[in-house]
Symmetry: C2
Subunit: 418 residues, 2 copies
């Protein structure tokens, strides 16, 4: 559909589905609760949202959320589930990410007709990419900058997440880079707190990284979490740049779309997008939104990396959902940009082979916290176990089959696999 | 608790509650899925999150969300609900709204121990207000600027929400101000689209508003929706200022905390905070967050007005929830600022008396879309019906009791009350 914005939803309603969906389309374009002067047929034709399709999926007598308002006078409400598609004229919105979200994910979630409503996906006209230039590095640019090709960028998170002084942090950085990681990130809990001032943390960490790079030619990428007020983020960005850092990180949901976009425009470094808080958006089956929407919005805003969880993670997310997210990151579908998927959460050598088998490539970051640092033989062995697991996994070999060849894998299996 | 950040949650878990809550506290401070070097007792004592209280509320065999992971080997999981309180050392975070959110509302929502988790409230040390100066106008400043005292600011939303040209928009503004409204706002769907360029819309609307103000001394406040990319928002802000506008509006969830804060710092005008999309955050009983958290965060970011829905609204929100939101707006509790509550959604003369009776004051905005513009005798009669309903409502009189005295009330009752 030329120059139209499309959104797909999963809905549940006790009202006639067509009527409920018409209310949604009205509310999100020209509607109010009574017809008002000026709402002409011509205006509605041009700017009214159009219901493109309705696919009924099934029904139940139990609503997903119990606060909707079924039709009056119905003794036993029947709640129907449906997948629907709505479209809007691009001219309703223009190229404007926050107002796009107000349109496809605005007041519709509280409409009393719906006992459940989830935004599954969006498709945007090419005018969005024409306005939003997207990631400056994305997958290839990051691989080039990190000097890692044909395999995942292996990384870790500084742990404990909070409490280390800049000096202790730098000590850990030294150990991690000597251990052979490609990538290190701050925890999302750590930005610029009194006990670990950002500038000092960057200076001391980059001293270790630069020293190692000078000696070996290997420059480890460190994503410094500069999340905060906008002017502070710009100041922190410049500190990273001055100290020759090569990556910055933001908490996407809490920095927010407009400031993320501003920093992405402003920076000369890849932007590591952290999705903490995302659980509340995606976890309810019939409320909130799905990952492809999120990825499309933030890739247009210009981030380069985006967290996806990993297989057999410590959270609630299923492997199927994780794989959909990884694939969404690696795709330009729906008028968006590719970003580097960042695998994490309870990852160790274990998930490498399966991740490769399911994803079909190694264009990703593979982050292990305890999966590296808690290895019984230390960090170097931890990194080695991940590297070997991926090398062998990319040949189709599982850990059990290779453990006899590699003590670090054997130890990892014995420790993490118990 | 001196200099500690406190968060209150409603949780549900099939694990021993104390253990599950300890995981949450660990994850949000010093934890990973296995103990790592550097996680010393001293560090944990200082920077570990503390479980302040656990109040068990009840149990069920059916989980709220069905994707959590009950303890292994348990035949029939029992899901316990509890209200819990966690605290953090201020030094973990510092005064940093996005990182505060990463701490109290970050990765915890997907922890596999929880079949439900909602952030109910937060309390912040005074250091937050010392850093974040809050709203420049808030309730009193807005009343003064709008020239409205001892009664609500009566307003309306331009409808249809989208599709009007700047000329048509200005025509409606003229009718509305002649009708006697105090306040007009753009719909959240309308920012700076091709069919209604922002600058033109502001110029033509402000021409009407300024002309009327020159003639009568009454200057209607218009909240222009400048939501979008940050540089665009600044440019749009200056357009409003140049045309002598007195209010700007943003879609809070989609502009995001850091850019909202930046615009609030930058502006000389009251900021009208629109919460579209909020439904997905608050609607699930056991996922997401509650309004007091939201209000605290955005009041610190500096907004002046915040939408709350109204009594008997067209959405799913209960009157009790609406009243809690209005009260939260009018309070400084928990280290935050007062903001002007904005009542809207399906409002007409009907809800005035009850709103006053329950809230106990008229320090609010009362917005009616169709409730003004669809009045059978026209907009002027619509505004008059609201004004009278509030005047009489503040004396304790319901519409039924006064309808015989006022034709506009009689007509409103007959039309909207059917």
């Amino acid at each position: 559909m030329k120059n139209r914005i499309i959104a797909k939803y999963l809905i549940e309603t006790a009202h006639p589905v067509e009527k409920a969906v018409a209310v949604l389309a009205g509310e999100q374009s020209s509607g109010t609760f009574v017809k008002v002067p000026g709402e002409t047929a011509e205006l509605t034709e041009k700017y009214g949202a159009k219901v493109e399709s309705i696919e009924i999926l099934g029904e139940s007598t139990t609503p997903y959320l119990n606060d909707s308002k079924p039709p009056k006078g119905v003794a036993q409400a029947i709640f129907q589930k449906a997948r629907i598609e709505i479209s809007w004229n691009y001219d309703n919105v223009g190229a404007n990410l926050p107002t796009l979200m107000a349109t496809v994910a605005g007041n519709l979630f509280e409409l009393s007709q719906f006992s459940g409503l989830k935004l599954l996906d969006i498709e945007l006209p090419q005018t969005y990419k024409a306005h939003y230039s997207g990631p400056k590095f994305s997958i290839e640019g990051t691989q080039k900058l990190a000097g890692v090709h044909q395999r995942p960028i292996i990384g870790t998170i500084i742990k404990p997440s909070v409490g280390l002084s800049p000096e202790q942090n730098a000590e850990q950085v030294k150990t991690l880079i000597e251990g052979g990681v490609d990538f290190i990130k701050d925890d999302e809990l750590m930005a610029d707190p009194p006990h670990s001032p950002f500038e000092k943390r960057v200076q001391l960490a980059m001293y270790q990284i630069n020293k190692y790079a000078d000696a070996t030619g290997k420059k480890v990428m460190y994503a410094f979490n500069l999340s905060g007020d906008l002017d502070d983020m710009k100041r922190r960005h410049d500190i990273v740049l001055k100290n020759e850092g090569t990556c910055i990180m933001m908490s996407l949901n809490w920095v927010g779309i407009s400031a993320v976009h501003q920093i992405c425009q402003f920076t000369q470094l890849p932007v590591h997008g952290h999705r903490n808080g995302w659980g509340m958006f995606y976890r309810p089956e019939l409320m909130g939104m799905s990952f492809p929407v999120y990825k499309k919005i933030f890739s247009l805003a210009g981030i380069d990396h985006l967290h996806t969880n990993g297989l057999r993670n410590k959270f609630c997310e299923s492997d199927e959902s994780v794989l959909n997210s990884i694939r969404a990151c690696q795709s330009e579908a729906g008028g968006s940009y590719k970003v580097m998927p960042v695998i994490s959460s309870g990852q160790w050598a274990d998930q490498a082979a399966d991740t490769y088998a399911k994803v079909g490539n190694a264009d990703l970051m593979y982050l292990c916290g305890g999966g590296i640092t808690a290895h019984p033989d230390g960090i170097k062995a931890g990194v080695e176990s991940i590297r070997i697991a991926w090398e062998e996994g990319m040949k189709g070999n599982q850990l059990q089959d290779i453990a006899h060849k590699y003590p670090v894998i054997q130890k990892a299996l014995a420790f993490y696999g118990k």
